[in-house]
């Protein structure tokens, strides 16, 4: 019994090699950035004059309030991802914000001040069309929600449904819009495409149909796209085919009057669909009688409806964006027009008169590495002299939010593109100038003794100079109060630290914007927007040249591939500065099937990238003579594989000397039974320190370390819970040999796989037991190695031993990755992103198929944990303590210069960077290490020996005299 207890204690001690942070370490080497995504709806909180909030609802299903002074989040609510959480509409009244979520599934009201939920109700099913606030006698008390088949009215105070009415003639009429102007009626506007408009008028009190009328409109197909309500309930539509306005009074509903655009001397740009923009400052009042007509991509016209007649007020050309805004009783129109190539100017115009307001110009400087402005939100306010001042929030194509104050001071920017990071890499920072100078000395060719000596002296002099400058700076800074000493990190003073813990994070986002982020502080050092990225692009980021090859600049290559056509482009850039490289990438006229980085380098130390097109022809980048020659020499040992998951075909190819390819193996998994969902190789920069595991009896079990091994995961097409299964195939990527083939029965995806060293860990959903399960496969060569010096897939005839074990995991997971360290000595952990926002660091030791069912002396000797079917989640395993990372999409791990330390970046809606120490910090002294004590002890010992030596001498002398 005592032995068992001891064993458990041992286990606990072993497991306690945990990286839970101490309280004073919080934020010391980790940081988190929270994002909201691309803004869909936005409202400035205006019910209090001094309010600093802007409320945004975004495409990433986030509802948040931003501080207009700093750009920080006041609060944020993250809804379900996908269509279930889509925010369909945002209506704001006072301090309440009403949201329609999930295609009309839920109606919610939030308190804007504190971000608390006022109420939430589930709406009847039916697809959402439109919503509006309904007011009566200057009081807004209701919200109307229009669905495909019914309209309902809810109280704004508690969400209770006042009434719900089915819409008439839903078979023919497509109801699209709802409108109210505070006269006790709700107007539902529908259209029978290319036939007529149907208007149904409901009474607010009881939902009774007051009127129901249809008006001929054979040219109309979509109300929301081409119509607005202007002035005293005048439905105004613009038809691009007939180039004319159509107007209809919704109160009288007689017939549509047609006003040709030509009669107003207006001309629409060819091929452009004119768009109308109106403004209703208060839902209990009528909309403004002024409205905008967009005539071309950069051409707007301000118009006014005056006694049923349309009057032109002002022409804006060129104008990029326009927007109405109201403060108090004043409504202004903000117009953004291009000033020059790099700047835009925003001006305010009085909506009533169309006159430009004095001193309202605001200059918006466009980032040359950013996109064009896309949306303009204006926050006007009344100054003391009753004139209108304003601030503007601009969203650009690259999803950047910029908040500007007059006359053009940028108060803050938010890079919302970072809410959707697709892939990333970490690149070492360059050496400082002096370090590089020293390095350069060794790199250069020797030319004579004398010049070498001079060179050495000069570089020593430079070092001395730098050291003195450093001392001077220290001295200078020491006199200043501490708060003033800033260590701002800019691109200029970036340099590698002693242990290479600070790196450049190169992040690629779905919008096509690239970022360079300092991993220590999280500050964005460079950004670059690629404006020709297709919306369905797949990205692959590769580091072709690291910073180790001074004076050659580091080089990254981004492969951007259109998923539909397969056509790809390359973007080559410097990962430290973000600048596009002067190296011209090859044009790729053919669809690309596969890309692979070879360990070969050209004479400039850039690794060779091979691209395989759909004709199975290979092109190299860079394709210098040197590279081609090397490729010819190496051709017979360059193999690659292609996966066609639609047909279940895995095929292997070999390069020929003329850069054509030949197929050498083929494995076909029938696609009608199971489909390939993921193929995982190993990371090329992974090191495995120990070749084997020492067993209890001191023999060695050698690992099967095949760098070419692929883990192929398939899911059955039959989803019935009794018959569904998951297949795991381990295939050698060079020879196509199936090393292991296993089937997990009664299991379903999504499957998350990590493949590293000699193991594969995967997670799946067990349909039989209705739980998440982990399974681990480990491969061993056996008690002796076949060929210990080098691994070749072509010469490894014996199949490895396969061990497998499974465990129950108490949570579903979002993503999974393994830690990575410089030399692979440190034990491995699995980093698991949970849907709850935690990032769990699970020691690989728990996922070990050699965990014994029955404890024996040998397994104890080996420190194996006895098998327990359930993997527990310990709270101290969460590496991000309370820093929740929403919607984790991926985890990136990179080794640092310290063997004990692994850098971790988790990205999703948020970005979280930290370090983990899977085997504790065995190579680092603690922060609170007592240098004083140890040095004083040393000195004391030293003096004690000196003194005692002297005393001993004296004593000896005395004895000799005696």
């Amino acid at each position: 019994m005592a032995k068992l207890i001891l064993l458990w204690l041992k286990c606990i001690l072993l497991c306690a090699t945990v990286e839970a942070v101490f309280e004073d370490q919080v934020g010391k080497f980790d940081w988190r950035q929270q994002y909201v995504g691309k803004v869909r709806f936005s409202h400035f909180d205006t019910h209090v004059q001094s309010s600093k909030k802007v409320v945004v609802a975004t495409e990433r299903n986030v509802f948040a309030a931003l501080n207009t002074r700093t750009g920080e989040l006041f609060w944020r609510h993250v809804d379900k991802a996908g269509s279930e959480g889509t925010i369909d509409a945002l209506l704001q009244h006072g301090q309440d914000a009403v949201l329609v979520v999930g295609n009309g599934r839920v109606l919610r009201s939030w308190d804007v001040n504190v971000g608390g939920l006022n109420w939430e109700i589930v709406l009847d099913s039916g697809s959402f069309q439109s919503a509006c606030l309904v007011g009566q006698q200057d009081m807004v008390k209701h919200v109307a929600v229009l669905k495909k088949t019914a309209i309902s009215l809810h109280y704004l105070s508690n969400g209770h449904q006042k009434w719900i009415e089915n819409l008439p003639d839903i078979e023919t009429v497509d109801y699209q819009a709802v409108y109210s102007d505070g006269n006790g009626e709700v107007y539902v506007l529908g259209v029978v495409p290319h036939s007529h408009i149907a208007i149904v008028v409901y009474s607010i009190e009881d939902g009774e149909i007051i009127k129901q009328i249809s008006v001929e409109a054979p040219w109309l197909s979509n109300i929301q796209a081409s119509c607005v309500v202007v002035g005293q309930g005048m439905l105004t539509c613009v038809d691009s085919a007939a180039m004319s306005f159509y107007m209809l009074d919704v109160h009288l509903q007689l017939q549509m009057t047609q006003i040709p655009l030509q009669s107003l001397a207006l001309e629409v740009d060819p091929g452009f669909n004119p768009v109308l923009l109106s403004h209703q400052p208060n839902p209990a009042r009528q909309p403004l009688s002024e409205f905008f007509l967009q005539l071309g991509p950069d051409h707007y016209q301000l118009l006014q409806l005056n006694d049923g007649q349309i009057v032109t007020m002002r022409d804006f050309k060129p104008a990029l964006l326009v927007s109405f805004a109201t403060t108090g009783e004043k409504t202004v129109a903000a117009v953004m027009s291009p000033k020059n190539k790099t700047a835009c100017s925003v001006n305010l115009f009085s909506a009533d008169t169309g006159r430009r307001l004095l001193d309202t110009t605001l200059i918006f400087n466009m980032d040359p590495n950013g996109g064009k402005p896309e949306k303009l939100f204006v926050q006007p306010f009344l100054k003391k002299d009753d004139s209108v001042g304003y601030r503007a929030m601009v969203q650009t194509e690259d999803h950047t939010l910029t908040f500007i104050q007059q006359p053009g001071r940028v108060m803050w920017t938010r890079e919302e593109a970072l809410s959707d990071v697709v892939t990333m890499e970490m690149v070492d920072l360059p050496l400082t100038g002096t370090q590089a100078e020293l390095e350069g000395e060794f790199g250069k060719k020797a030319d004579g003794l004398m010049s070498m000596v001079l060179k050495r002296l000069s570089s020593q002099l430079i070092l001395l100079q730098a050291w003195i400058a450093h001392l001077w700076k220290l001295f200078y800074d020491a006199r200043k109060p501490r708060s003033q000493v800033k260590n701002d990190i800019t691109i200029e003073n970036l340099s590698r630290d002693e242990f290479n813990l600070q790196k450049m994070m190169v992040m690629v986002t779905a919008s096509g914007k690239l970022f360079g982020i300092d991993s220590k502080t999280g500050s964005i050092l460079w950004r670059h927007y690629l404006d020709n990225v297709p919306s369905n692009a797949a990205f692959k980021l590769m580091v072709q040249r690291t910073t180790a090859h001074f004076p050659h600049p580091p080089q990254c290559t981004l492969l951007i591939k259109d998923k539909d056509t397969g056509l790809a482009t390359l973007h080559v850039f410097n990962p430290i500065f973000g600048k596009k490289s002067h190296v011209t990438p090859p044009a790729l006229p053919q669809p690309i099937l596969q890309s692979l980085m070879l360990p070969l380098m050209d004479q400039d130390y850039a690794k060779v990238l091979l691209l395989v097109d759909d004709q199975y022809k290979v092109s190299a980048f860079p394709s210098t003579k040197n590279v081609l020659q090397q490729l010819q020499e190496m051709a017979s040992s360059i193999f690659f594989y292609l996966v066609d998951s639609s047909q279940g075909r895995l095929s292997g190819y070999r390069l020929r000397t003329d850069l054509s390819t030949e197929q050498i193996w083929e494995v076909v998994i029938p696609a009608e039974i199971q489909k390939i969902v993921s193929v995982k190789g190993k990371r090329p920069n992974e090191h495995v320190h120990s070749q084997g595991r020492v067993m209890g009896d001191r023999s060695v079990l050698y690992k099967y370390l095949n760098p070419n091994l692929l883990a192929v995961v398939t899911e059955s097409t039959d989803l019935h819970q009794e018959r569904s299964f998951i297949g795991i195939l381990l295939i050698d990527g060079v020879t196509g040999r199936i090393i292991h083939e296993a089937v997990q029965r009664k299991a379903r995806g999504p499957v998350h796989v990590v493949h590293s060293e000699n193991w594969v860990v995967y997670e799946y959903w067990s349909t039989k037991s209705r739980r998440n399960e982990f399974s681990v496969i480990e491969l061993y060569e056996g008690m002796e190695l076949y060929n210990s010096t080098v691994f070749s897939s072509l010469d490894r005839p014996h199949a490895p031993q396969v061990l497998q074990q499974s465990y129950i995991f108490p949570s579903s997971i979002s993503t999974m990755e393994a830690t990575l360290t410089e030399k692979g000595i440190t034990s491995r952990h699995l980093l698991i992103g949970l849907p709850s926002g935690g990032i769990l660091s699970l020691p690989k030791m728990f996922l070990d198929p050699r965990r014994p069912e029955i404890v024996s002396e040998q397994s104890r000797e080996e420190n194996l944990i006895p098998y327990a079917p359930e993997l527990l989640i310990r709270t101290e395993w969460f590496i991000n303590y309370n820093q929740t990372v929403s919607r984790v999409r991926g985890i990136y791990t990179a080794p640092s210069g310290l063997e004990s330390t692994c850098l971790v970046v988790a990205y999703g809606l948020d970005i979280y960077q930290t370090r983990v120490y899977p085997s504790k910090q065995f190579d680092v002294l603690k922060d609170d290490y007592d240098y004083m004590l140890i040095s004083s002890v040393l000195f004391a010992l030293f003096f004690a020996t000196m003194i005692s030596k002297r005393l001993a001498e004296v004593k000896l002398l005395n004895r000799a005299w005696r």
Binding site: G727, G736, R737, V743, S766, D795, I854
Partner: protein
Amino acid sequence: MARLPPFKVALVCAVLFVVCTDFVCCNNGRRVGDTLETEFSGFSVPLEHSFEVDDVAKFRVRGALVLKAGREPSVSLSQNQLSEEDRTKLKEVAAVDGLYRIRVPRVFLQADRQTERQMEGYLTAFVRACAMVESHLSDVITIHTDVSGYLIGVSIVTLPGACRGTEVEDEVDLEVFNTTLSIMAPVNAPGPETALFLERMEQESEKKGKNPQEQKSFFAKYWYLILGGAIFLMVSNSAQPPAGGGREQS
């Protein structure tokens, strides 16, 4: 090494049925084209090979695989000797480090009729020709099936697998294939072992129950500690002089 004269090496076919995997050693076979289906109540598909100096695959029949469907699928192989011409060619290919490829057609084992079995396409694998030569044609061919009985892949390795550049002088070594053949179906991956674990836990708790020392209550076990603690507290309380206010003033 025992070298059998070419004429005597006929009709030796040992079939070993092992659970799950079946190893078949075929020293030599009969002429391809002999109908075998009747004998084995399985069906035969050709095993083809190709080795060309210019590495453009030209597949020719090497032998016939006889596949037997059922719960435990089995396979056997009958194959020809290499002809004089082929032997020299194989050596030539080995000299230029060419490939020795094999292929089998995709088939579905569980189908009843021949027409349903055959599917479009082939499964291919390769080994370096020099390894084939240096191993004296001793190869290990494994055929993989999926859960439902489709052939999904074939693999070939030679034993030994290395190319050391040793010359194979005797032509006789390259006449007869020494093939180890097996068919592999996917293994069932284990689920979490809850039953055994629970059993073990029960056993442990039973053990605990039997041990009377473990059954004692908390107070029964540690009464002396608690008593000692209590006495210590009492003594220290009574010994302390009541000097609360005095200290604050000083």
